[in-house]
Structures are given as C-alpha cells and as structure tokens.
C-alpha cells in the first residue's frame, strides 16, 4: 500500500468498500505526515436519475415509483411523496388516515432501526465483522433483534401489503383499509416487543462510547404535540424554525466531483448539518411516549447529546416509542371510510418533508392540470448528512493516526455507520481510501 512515487511522509490507505451500509461507496482520506489534507465520502452508487424520469409521470404513479429509490425505507419516500402531492392538489386527509400513516411509519422505523442496530452497528461496538458473527457470542440479543425487526415487517405487510415496496399507499390515503382483526392480531407480539425493545435499549446503552462531542447543527421536524414523523416545522438546535415550504430557501444541494450523490449545506453559512434519530431525540425528547421518555433518563446519557456514537441509543429509544405508538393505534383502530380522500387534478406545486429512519426527507413536485409531473426534487437524508460525516472524520482521524491501516479504516467506518447512511437513497456510499 506504499506508493513509491509519493514523498516519504505521504501515504495512501485504501479500504475498498465500506461494509454494513445500504448501497455502495467508500471513503478517501489524504494524509501528509499527520496532517489531514482531504476527506471525501465517495459514493459510487450508480445514478438512477429518478428526478429526470419522474417528469411526465402521473402523480398517482409517484408513491410506487419513489419507493424504489430505497428498499430499506420505501415508506419514507411514499410518505414524503403523498404529503407533497396532497399539499399541491389541496387534499386534507382524515384523522383516521393520518393515524394509519403514522402506524405505517412506526413499522418502517422498527424494521429499519432494528436492522441497523443489530446487524450493522452493534457489531462495531462489540468487535465483530457482522451481526451473524456476533450471534455466536450474543445469541439471545441477536435473536431478539431479529424478532423485533420481523414485527416491523409484519406491520408493513398488513398495512402495506408487503414490507419492501408496499402497494397500499395512495394519494389521499390507502387503497384499502386493513380489517380490524388483521391489525389487532398483532397486539400480543407488540406487547412483547415493547418490553424487548426496552431491554434492547438498556443493552446498547451499556456499550463503550468514545467521548466525541461535536458542535453540531442538528435539524429535524418538530411537531407541537407529538413526536414528529409526517408533519411539523423544520427546527434546529440553534433556534431556527422554518416551514417546510421554505426548506429550499435555507438548505441547498451542491455537487462534488467525488460523489454521485449531491451534498446539502445550510445556506446561511455553507455549513454542514446533522439529521437522524439523535437529532430527533434531542429536539423532541419530551414528545417521546412515556416509556421511551422515562427510559431516556435512566441511561446515563445527558440529553441533548452531541456524540454521534449515541445514535444507536437514540435509534433504540425511537423503537420503543414506535412500539408504544403502534400499540395505541392498534388498540383503538377503526377502519377509515372511505380509505382514501377523493381529489381533482389541478396544476400546482407541492412540497413536504417527513422523517425517514435516517432523517429528514424532502420532496417537491410541480405538476400540470393533466396530473403529470413537470418537475421533481428529492433531497434524501444521507446526502444531507454527507458533509457532516466528512467533517466528523476530519476531527476523528487525528485520534487514530497511530493505528495500523486496517484498524484506522474500521474505526472510520464505525464513525460513518453512526449515521446509518443509506447510499442507495443518496444517489438518487462507501470505499475507504487513505492517502498518506
């Protein structure tokens, strides 16, 4: 790995592909002696050009099509899409449909968060190459995690038809409301799951967290009376609160040569910002459901936390919250009639942001009175976090410069995984290359 053409104090370290993330990309670090010259999160996920081919499609096709941006969080794409289009055509859904959408999102948060916690992230803290390898020493924890993950998928299957690319979401609501008994059948499993999720949070809160506090600008939707999923204002921890409709006036995408994903910055000063479960817990701590809220205080973590390694704990708290909220909805569910609200085509523009498992997901659509799109804009959470991840790495690398290159690479990859990056989404990734 030494390159003779370089000066002796410069070196290159390569970790070809970052593992245990969704999608593919890497990391490129250039060092000169102990000086970090450049850090790039390189995303080599092939571009699929959704925003281009969405033009000319009917608004009714959008929830099905944008789901295919990401197999891990299709519901997030469907939710941001239907909310955006509904705001453009002037649809107001009923409270029952609104609750059912929250229930669907609970399923996705449970499925996505428990996947990341158990199979992708916990192995970093415990020193394994995978969740499957970890299962040899931690069989009960891994099995419990898989069972929780299955619950999330079961909820998606009942409500959405299937866990990956659900078929039941439409503009105005759902194609068909589930029958009461289809949903109530899930209650016993979810009662068990709530307790198991609490045990899981206690387990992950006992991991060894590096002291790595950073002065992040944390951004999330905040809703005045509930833990925000589908609606709210876009709030940061520096006191800014904006309407979703003003998103594009405050946050801007820019392109960098090393990535097929666009990166986002705050327009006020070009700085990076932090999205995801940790930002949400920090900004909406008191809107967590009671068991999750109490648990947050028992863990020995001072909230708000600015240590990205605590992301796994925040993810766990959201799983507990999702179980509590899902149980409330399951126990009181009555099928909404009709299952979807009717609307007329009209020309317009609509935007919305919802909280994908990995953070804020913004969509905007322009369409004509024929119901066909003329423009689509989609800003996924991972492209918004990408700049923040690079900045974290610049501050983290000095701590690991003395490590051998494999250890250094793994350590950086762990830091990247704190963000649960979804690279399939962000191109709408990760190869580690370290040049010294």
């Amino acid at each position: 790995m030494t390159d003779d053409s370089k000066p002796p104090n410069a070196r290159t370290i390569r970790v070809e592909a970052l593992c245990r993330v969704e999608g593919e990309g890497g990391l490129h670090v250039r060092l000169k002696g102990d000086r970090i010259e450049d850090v790039q999160l390189t995303i080599f996920e092939p571009p699929r050009l959704f925003e281009a081919f969405l033009r000319g499609r009917a608004i009714e096709d959008v929830p099905d099509i944008v789901a295919r941006i990401c197999g891990i969080c299709p519901v997030a794409y469907q939710m941001s899409a239907v909310h955006a289009i509904e705001s453009g055509v002037g649809v107001q859904v009923s409270p029952e449909i609104r609750r059912l959408r929250r229930l669907l999102y609970c399923g996705e948060w449970i499925e996505s968060h428990t996947l990341h916690m158990h199979l992708l992230h916990a192995p970093d803290f415990l020193g394994f190459e995978s969740g499957l390898a970890m299962a040899r020493d931690w069989p009960e924890e891994v099995k419990r995690g898989l069972r929780l993950k299955k619950h999330g998928n079961q909820l998606l299957e009942v409500l959405g038809g299937r866990a990956i690319h659900p078929v039941n979401v439409c503009i105005g609501g759902f194609y068909r409301a589930p029958r009461r008994e289809e949903l109530t059948a899930l209650i016993p499993d979810f009662e068990w799951g709530l307790q198991a999720a609490i045990d899981t949070v206690r387990w992950v809160a006992g991991f060894d967290f590096p002291a790595f506090e950073r002065p992040y600008t944390m951004v999330a939707l905040v809703h005045h009376e509930e833990y925000a999923m589908n609606e709210g204002r876009i709030v940061d921890n520096r006191g800014q609160a904006i309407d979703v409709a003003d998103y594009e006036r405050h946050y801007q995408e820019r392109q960098v040569p090393h990535s097929t994903a666009l990166q986002s910055v705050r327009m006020v000063d070009g700085s990076s910002y932090f999205l995801g479960p940790l930002a949400r817990v920090n900004l909406s701590l008191d809107r967590l459901k009671p068991a999750a809220r109490r648990l947050a205080d028992e863990l020995g973590i001072a909230w708000p936390s600015h240590n990205s390694f605590h992301g796994i704990v925040a993810r766990g708290l959201e799983v507990v919250h999702a179980y509590e909220e899902a149980l409330e909805i399951l126990k009181t569910y009555q099928p909404p009639t009709p299952p979807h609200v009717a609307y007329q085509h009209r020309a317009g523009t609509g935007c919305a942001a919802t909280e994908a498992p990995r953070g804020l997901l913004y969509h905007r659509y322009n369409f004509g009175d024929d119901g066909l799109l003329t423009e689509a804009k989609i800003v996924p959470p991972t492209s918004q976090n990408q700049g923040q991840i690079e900045e974290d790495l610049r501050h983290w690398l000095p701590r690991v410069l003395d490590c051998d290159e494999d250890a250094m690479g793994e350590s950086c990859a762990h830091l990247v995984r704190n963000y649960d990056p979804c690279i399939s989404c962000s191109t709408h990734a990760l190869r580690l290359t370290i040049e010294r």
């Binding site: 996947l115 190459e129 898989l146 194609y175």
Partner: protein, 265 residues
Amino acid sequence: MSAMKPSLGVFKFASCDGCQLSLLDCEDELLAVNERLHIAYFLEATSHVEGGPFDLALVEGSITTPADAERIRDVRAQSKFLVTIGACATAGGIQALRNWADTPEYLRTVYARPDYIQTLDRSTPIAAHVAVDFELRGCPINKQQLLEVIASFLAGRRPRTPVHSVCLDCKRRGIVCVMVARGIPCLGPVTHTGCGALCPSYDRGCYGCYGPAAQPNLVSLTNQFRADGLSRDATIRFLREFNAYAAEFRAESDRLEGYEQSTQT
C-alpha cells in the same frame, strides 16, 4: 468446517438494495442460512470480505455504468452458479426508463456538473452482459422464493418457481376481478406470478412488478384497456414502469407509441 460449506457472494449493481435486503428479512431463517452457506461477500451484511470463487452468486441491480459492465464479467468469471434477483437485474429496472430518453439531458436535469458522472445511455439486465443460470423475478423479489432458490441450490436441483400469471392467483384466492367488476386497469393477465396477487387483494390493479408472464397476450389486454377508457399515453406509462424494458412489455409499449406515429403521418 466453513471450508466445506458452499460459498455465497451477494453483489449489487444499480438498484435500491431491496432484493438483497430480502435475505436479511428472512428473520426466521437467516441464522440457518448462515449455517449452511459460507458468506464470503455480502457488503451490506458483513465487513468480512473474501475474493472468489463463489459457489452461489446473487446479483441485484442493472448495468448502467462502464465500470459495472466490467465488474459483472468479473463476478461471472468467479461464480459457479449465478442467480439474478429482482426486476433491475432481470429487466433493467425503473432506471431503464432512460432507454427511451436522452440520457445526457437526464444527467443535466439532476446534476449541475454532469461531466463528473459516468453513466451509460441505457440500463440493461445482467443477462444482456453475461450468462445467467437462473432469474428470480420481482420488484422486490419474494423472500420465500429466494429461500427456495437457496434451498434448491443446496439440494442440487432447479428452483421450483411457477411462471403463470397473477390473474390465475386471483382466481385461486377467490379475489373479485378488479378489472371486470370495477373497471380498474390491471396487468394481472400478463404479469408473472410471485406476489400472490397482492395488489388486487388491496383493491387496486396489478402494476406488473414481476414482469411478463409466460406467453402473455399484451395486445388483447391493451385493447381492453382502451375499451375501458384508458388513454394510449396512460397505457404506455402503465407498461413502462419497473419492468419497462422486459421484452414483451417493451414491444407492446413501443407498438402503441408507433401506432400513433403511423396514424399521424
């Protein structure tokens, strides 16, 4: 011990990750699969990475970049039994909509600096590049069918995955026909089974996730769509979704488009 187990490689090209996620979604079977197969390459699941050869390769995604067109040849060369999973790998996926468009214009739409991006003008299925031993359809694939593929590979037999149409599944399940009873356009009569007639069971028409069934009669179906009042453009859009570039769907959407052109001239 692990040297005795057949090795598995899971490879991703242009895709959403959903089909390989189907393997991790086999929550009840995942640990057993790990007992029977040696996971040698599966970036999404493990940091443990080995080179080939691989006894079984699962390939997700379509070919859209020059680098990927090279990489799939390498994967093929290292793999004894190569299975493509999902509509991207078997038909080019939703990103194959560029095949009817001006791809440089698409790039300019999405990227301020399209010159930073390397991509091909077309999104093509894996079988357009290398020999494929088995294709598993779906957007996404059905995880039970994926387990069937893995189990049959371990047993040394062909996977048993039926090829009849979604329409037949509705009849079997006793689902009232959404098209006959309610006039909702449905691709069920021409779409490959695998989902269990999911969409009609949720009161909507099939939108063709699993691609064309064996010997589909597209012309007859699109004639019926027209009789039911679906416009030609809407019919073309209907056929041009996740399996747009699959041969039978492609031929029919092209025929409908050409029909208009020939009547205009």
